[in-house]
Symmetry: D3
Subunit: 244 residues, 6 copies
């Protein structure tokens, strides 16, 4: 891939086309189909009154997430984790990342003793599934909070509950070049790749960089962070428009 | 529901609107989004060269199916089977039904030593998910066989491989009235319900009737079968159009 | 098997010898060893006071069933499901069928908040294990209800509790001929096979027909149903005698 | 139970009635229903040609055992281990004991590269299920070896293969008195209980004594061993008669 | 190994060097690193107020044990049981043995409604891991009881709670010679091996002898028991010193 | 903790005392007990000839890691993952991190078709268990490579195999202050915490920062990275000394 253009002709700091379709399914309190190019994730937010036993009486709500992939979301079919009888390490890791990221967006005290489960199911994968999931889940969570507000079921003022927006994007170094929002082909070829979760105000929520196929110097890390912050700002804007 | 019209105003022998969207996702060799009213199932067909060990050298191909529901496909969120660490009885039962039904549509000798896995994932449920899955999976399987034909990877003549079309529909008795293609609200209220799988020629592949909330007489069974055969004929026509 | 007599010389509409031995084991509230020819199933009914949590306070009882096979009940040894760590699809499917069928025989309101588990363990298999299990479990359940009656632990009048008898039989088409109560050798060779559960009054509780190795026309279905209804009537008579 | 007679009126050194019914089921190469009073265990021996991978080419055969209880073999129903998804510690422990004991009875070199699985399923339990299982499994294994001999499938001379008989019995101290072959009621009340496996020649294969509800002195151990050796000799005689 | 000295030059009735290091880790209420030569087991005692649900209101405490091995405690790495998803038979069996043995040392009524879990993790294995575990766990349990005494959380007088000391040792016959405290090399070569748990007063708690690779006569059993009783007395002395 | 000194009186950029004890256990090819203050992890490296099937013939070696905690390594006892029957998300995540980090230290081509499993078992936990594990596992892996070199079993020159050293440390912001190498008490109180893996040359291998209890600005991230790089340099020096 050295010296070559990106597979889809984008510039290095350009996102793929992003769509956020609210209300994609009818049952959940919030549901968003998010697309980052060929990556397509269905994010649903399910509300239940009350919180898990260990949290009862705390006055605080709870938000958790589960990520999964359909078996043929990818180029080669994977066995179902239900059939294997266990959730894999990668799935666990991503579910935990999404949960932590979204909890950063919400004031659990203002939510009150309500629980929200965010299910992020990858229908089609082309790189960046976890970052698309976080970006979409934020909108679904926002809708679920709106649903609670309409029922006057929040402990705090509705506008206080979602106290920060969060969005996420991947960045990486391919053939020595820092690039934003990697597609699958680039992800596989990256020497370094990083997932960054930012707030709408440009602060960091999570930074996860890994150089399995290489190591990276401080200045490379800096340019990756620059790209990611700019990308997240664009995604935050897309979220604002979708929620308008 | 006694003496009342159907929830969506249909006549007793009327199907819900049916759509079969081919090529809904890009990776699988066959992929169909099938909709029976508010029921929405993504059916993908994944081809692999070769067959399971116990079948090697037989000259016969293999077709199998896996059915699953997204956790919030339904009105109330269900726990993921991957998280529970086991596939439930209902899931097992439906996966086996889909597999048997689709194997009736294909000449495994003409398929040659190739395997096809049919994944039927319910994205949204409103009754009849298993019958929609069978109806959609037939079209996805047909496309996967076309993909093999294009690669000259079939043992027999392409037109011999898919030797019968199969489609399926539910029927039931609600408030004493036999009805076709039950939605969820009717399914729950049915005294008797039956799933019927027919070939395009009008023969039966599977008949599964159950009267848990009541028992049924021979003439009731007969009128349910009449409704189902007519419904399957309409679905077979929709499949022909989709594949044209 | 074309044009040949049945392996055991029976006529096409003849049952195998049926025995129902009540009180086969000493601990359970009801226990029956049922034999359909070489098929031998131990059916026990275990009563517990109270119902599962989700049913408490409903005033209704609960009946459920679990089916299993000893590893060497069949010609070739199968691995134990306990050792594999999961219950297989076939086992699940049959357990659910037995549970539904037996719930059709009992008035759960008259039973009151009591639970009965029906364990059907196949000690020796020669075809028709699920139909033998249903037929035997009815007698075991009847005895368990009698046990409750003797303790005055029923909510309704004892004679109201078991409001219908249920029995089951398999039928199939072998070499074009419709036959009743298939043994293993016939089961394997059948083009179509069907399990039918009837009440003592001749109504249907369940009809499950499958044509994996072929498809079947309406008139074939009709003649299979005729055979099954007659077979179930004979089994109902055997149950009456056993309970006399 | 102090100073009282045994629940069934036996003397302290008396076995319960023992029966060994060969050929109880038709499929296995060896099958024995063994009864020690109210304890009833079905022991089957399943032969397969060849040995597990790790033993291939060794010239040695393999014998292993699996023990299990039907859910209502006991006074209170137990959950199935298949449903719980794991084999319990007690089951594991007994299966391993049976396997070791039976391997002591057979010359694995003379058996040649054949495998035998001994399934011991408790149909009804009244104490001593593991010792009944060992005693019955010996006879089933003997029959399976006879089956191999008839097919000339043994590596050594048939009479060399089963080089020792093994039988087992429980003993315990109840209210200070040493007793042979405890029934359930005694087992629960025992201060010390011991399971002893002996050869027909009176040597020990296994000695497992436990004093959870108390401790025991050397002379108590000695009198328990005396009782057990005498009991095993009687059981060995019963095995000889059954095999005659 | 016939006629040869022991691998480490000991006499047949000589223990390996034994060390009992109390307070090896800081968090548990009792923690002991026990070493029998190259065998090294970390025993921790974890106290919780209250008892499991089935024991509530009985006034009795509860003591249970879990044994495990680090994957590379042995010469060849074993797969982790957590990764395999199930606890193996050997692990189960040893955990149960340790639990029973330690319950013999404690007056559960005097303990009151408190629970203690004894975790015995083998850091390095060279034979006799279960007997070292029992010997070390006794000291850890003693410390945990002391911790409860200091908090005045016992139901009975502190000196009544640990009413007996328990220690354990392995013995075996190698090349016809009875030996005490087998190392791994001897364990593998033993014709007969036995694990014996004794109280400080010289009574038996558990006797488990097995002759998988042979059988054993009464006089051999007697000499093994003599060796074991003497070995346990030495270990009881080491426990007394460690607790002084 | 605002404005207060660190619990153990360290300065903000000071590591806890670090020890690396090589050869702590006798069986593994490499074994290191690593201590970061009260955190104590046993790291073993197990070599096997050959590689997993999917890698055969590639000429490349394989290095993988498994992390686990003893149940009472922490202040409150945790249930064993083997008993729960599944590996938790946190365990999975850390095992994967250790594996990736160590693979960055080794030239898998020079290693040749050999496999190394790094087991990192936490014997006592006081914060920073994953970073201690990486730091210790590097030394254990180095010893295992030395073992292979001594057997002339490497594909490349021994000095080429371990082509980079890797070490790891945690950093975090507590009460607004950036601190190095958090102990448990600080870890729980941190607004932001980050784990950083560096090479001996000061490049990054992994950067994982999370602000669940807050978000962090770019300058905060920068000062955390400065601290971490300096800390890793000290650890690299400790590794060099240990290996000298």
């Amino acid at each position: 891939m050295q010296g070559m253009a990106r597979p889809d002709g984008r510039g290095p700091s350009q996102l793929r086309p992003v769509t956020l379709t609210r209300g994609w399914s009818t049952h959940p309190e919030g549901s968003v189909l998010v697309e980052f190019g060929g990556t397509r994730v269905l994010c649903t937010a399910s509300v239940t009154e009350g919180v898990p036993r260990w949290r009862k009486g705390s006055g605080l709500g709870w938000v958790t997430a589960e990520y999964a992939m359909l078996p043929r979301a990818t180029n080669t079919r994977s066995d179902r984790e239900s059939v294997k009888g266990r959730v894999g390490g990668r799935t666990h890791e991503i579910s935990r990342l999404i949960g932590r990221s979204l909890r950063a967006s919400i004031d659990l005290k203002a939510l009150g003793e309500n629980s929200v489960v965010l299910d992020c199911d990858v229908l089609q994968a082309d790189g960046g599934t976890r970052t698309a999931a976080i970006t979409g889940a934020y909108v679904a969570l926002h809708d679920a909070v709106g649903w609670l507000a309409a029922r006057k079921a929040l402990a705090g003022k509705p506008e206080k509950v979602m106290h920060r927006s969060v969005a996420a994007v991947s960045v990486g170094i391919i053939a020595g070049e820092a690039r934003l929002d990697l597609c699958y082909e680039e992800d596989v070829a990256a020497e370094v790749d990083m997932n960054v979760v930012c707030t709408g105000a440009g602060d960091f929520v999570e930074v996860q960089g890994t150089g399995e196929a290489g190591v990276f110097a401080r200045d490379q890390l800096d340019s990756l962070l620059d790209l990611a912050v700019a990308g997240c700002a664009e995604l935050a804007e897309a979220q604002r428009k979708a929620l308008a």
